[in-house]
């Protein structure tokens, strides 16, 4: 049950953060969406043996996080929360790939290199997705989807789903609290109550859906979710996109850390 309340808190926190007013928040939602997708593609396109070349891409999440004045702790915790799944699959890499190479006097198995690269990529991609929603918010993102010509029906459905998640989660939390009070010290819902418990919630959901629909009709709903006018994409938005794309491209083509490193070690020598 704490699970549900946690999830609710998570959604609300990211939504609250999206209401801030900073430079990043003011960027056009479509531009932020595109930047995120390009970033994800670039991160994922790296070879599984390239770790160092991946490092400069950390600038994107760091800069967005700081410029948008987001709290580091909660975002970082969410990233860590997802990593165990990746570790679960990636941890087998060292077991299957024993080939070693020598890196500055250290002998490292290639399996560990690939594991670390998957780990790092997971951190970057998860951060990018979370930062997108924490700086944009669901409604603006939906308007961006509409600009991309994603069908009205799907966007409407997405927004309705999102809107009613918190309503229903509270209902589920109430039902579960009632259940746990009658069945103390029990892990999970007993088999005998599976159908009736979840079924009751479904039937209540259905009835609620009907009431919601009637209310929507009373207020003049005719199959359209009005999100107002689309915001225009300004020159500064294009500049933001172009700047990042340029950076991603440079980071993808050149191995910046090795270049910095050889410069430095060259100077030292």
């Amino acid at each position: 049950m704490s699970n549900i309340m946690n999830s609710l808190y998570n959604m609300r926190l990211l939504d609250d953060l999206a209401r801030k007013e900073t430079f990043i928040h003011r960027i056009h939602p479509l531009v932020k969406l595109l930047t995120t997708v390009i970033y994800l593609t670039v991160v994922v396109s790296f070879n599984r043996y390239e770790i160092i070349g991946l490092f400069p891409l950390i600038f994107y999440p760091v800069l967005v996080l700081v410029l948008a004045e987001l709290p580091i702790g909660p975002i970082f915790r969410r990233i860590l929360l997802v990593e165990p799944f990746i570790i679960g699959i990636g941890i087998l890499n060292p077991l299957f790939d024993h080939q070693v190479f020598i890196l500055g006097g250290l002998t490292i198995s290639r399996g560990w290199v690939t594991f670390f690269s998957v780990f790092l990529k997971c951190g970057f991609t998860v951060a990018a997705a979370l930062l997108l929603i924490a700086t944009t918010g669901m409604d603006s993102l939906a308007s961006a989807l509409r600009m991309l010509k994603i069908p009205r029906l799907f966007v409407l459905q997405l927004l309705l789903t999102y809107r009613y998640i918190s309503v229903l989660m509270e209902e589920v939390a109430r039902t579960l609290r009632a259940y746990s009070l009658r069945a103390p010290q029990q892990k999970g819902v007993h088999r005998s109550a599976w159908g009736s418990l979840a079924g009751q919630i479904i039937i209540r959901t259905f009835e609620r859906a009907q009431r919601i629909y009637q209310a929507m009709c009373l207020r003049g709903f005719a199959g359209e979710y009005n999100i107002g006018d689309y915001r225009k994409i300004k020159a500064s938005d294009w500049a933001y996109l172009a700047g990042w794309v340029l950076f991603f491209a440079v980071a993808r083509i050149y191995n910046i850390p090795v270049m910095i490193g050889s410069l430095l070690t060259g100077v030292v020598r």
Partner: protein, 350 residues
């Protein structure tokens, strides 16, 4: 079963996005045909229900542990396959955005694995076949159980294929299959039991809800569905074959440009492009999409790996380490400086 971006390659992600978008567009068209405006709010609320229901932990008899509902099959049963698929897609979008549960690039894979196999294969081919003979608790049990298990098995196999085609892990195909399928068999049984319990209860309390969804579905023509399924599978296979092709062909950049932008104009004809393709041949834009190869081919793939790992000699590797450390330090320093400046500015304003 939600795939993360880190486990897929751009080609696999893009292919699955395309396949999923195709299925979604088809579903959308199907729903609009019998446009019952009531259905959209219902889909929204049902999506929210499944999302919330995933938080309920059901105790698994005899194990002392607990599991939760996935919901693809339940959505297909309650809303019909088309609305069910779209609802599943919107649930996954929200999970990806707010909980990073499955990545954005991997969204196509996830919607396909969790939505397509349940709504378009297990539901029409198993559930509907069995239920066609009329409703009874026993038949609901058999139908829901079997379709939930098979839907999940197919989804798990999808995960295996997508991960392998992406070439991000070292897992050999056989081992991966042996890991994924039995685990998802157990999960599928639980999913089937929960789905059965819920459907049976709802059918007893409000039979019209379940029968209506099945009736609305009956209008759909099966022939187009089959064509579509064939198309989707072909797209997936094509994606897989293309990625093999990409691994043997060094000219990855143009090819991927063509794939993503749909134009081939970036051919190495004039100076800049010549230069670009030179750079590109050094950097190999696409990761190697090789299956974990058997012994004799292992050497070859090892060779490839060392090529793309630039730091084989100790000189460059030290540069790499030093530069990497510098880069990370610089990123942290930049972040801290900006936030310090911002904070100071705020104090002045206050």
């Amino acid at each position: 079963m939600h795939m993360a971006d880190a486990l897929i390659s751009p080609v696999v992600g893009g292919t699955m996005w395309a396949a999923t978008a195709g299925v979604a567009a088809y579903s959308m068209k199907k729903i609009q045909d019998d446009m019952d405006e009531k259905k959209i709010p219902l889909m929204g609320v049902m999506g929210a229900f499944v999302f919330a229901a995933q938080m309920i932990n059901f105790s698994i008899p005899g194990t002392g542990s607990s599991g939760h509902l996935g919901g693809g099959m339940l959505l297909a049963i309650l809303l019909g396959p088309y609305a069910g698929f779209l609802t599943m897609a919107s649930i996954l979008v929200i999970q990806a955005l707010f909980f990073a549960d499955g990545g954005l690039l991997a969204l196509g894979c996830n919607v396909f694995n969790l939505g397509f196999f349940t709504c378009f294969i297990a539901y029409p081919l198993i559930y509907k076949r069995i239920m066609g003979k009329g409703y009874s608790p026993k038949r609901i049990f058999g139908a829901a159980m079997l379709s939930a298990i098979i839907g999940l098995q197919l989804g798990a196999f999808g995960v295996v294929l997508e991960t392998l085609f992406s070439g991000k892990t070292e897992l050999p195909f056989g081992t991966f299959v042996m890991l994924m399928q039995p685990i998802h068999l157990a999960i599928g049984v639980v999913e089937g039991l929960i789905t059965t319990a819920i459907v049976t209860f709802v059918w007893k309390a409000r039979p019209e809800i379940i029968e209506k969804a099945a009736l609305g579905e009956a209008l759909g023509s099966i022939s187009i569905k089959k064509v579509l399924a064939g198309f989707a599978i072909a797209a997936v296979i094509a994606g897989g074959v293309f990625s093999w092709f990409a691994s043997t062909n060094p000219d990855g950049l143009e090819w991927s440009m063509f794939k993503t932008a749909g134009k081939e104009e970036l051919e190495a004809t004039d100076g800049i492009h010549q230069k670009l393709s030179e750079i590109q041949s050094k950097t190999a834009f696409l990761p190697d999409y090789s299956f974990k190869t058997p012994e004799n081919e292992k050497e070859q793939s090892a060779g490839e790996g060392e090529e793309s790992w630039p730091a084989v000699n100790s000189g460059t590797s030290i540069s790499g380490l030093v530069g990497g450390g510098m880069t990370l330090a610089l990123a942290a320093f930049t972040g801290m400086t900006i936030s310090m400046i911002k904070r100071r500015k705020k104090k002045v304003i206050v």
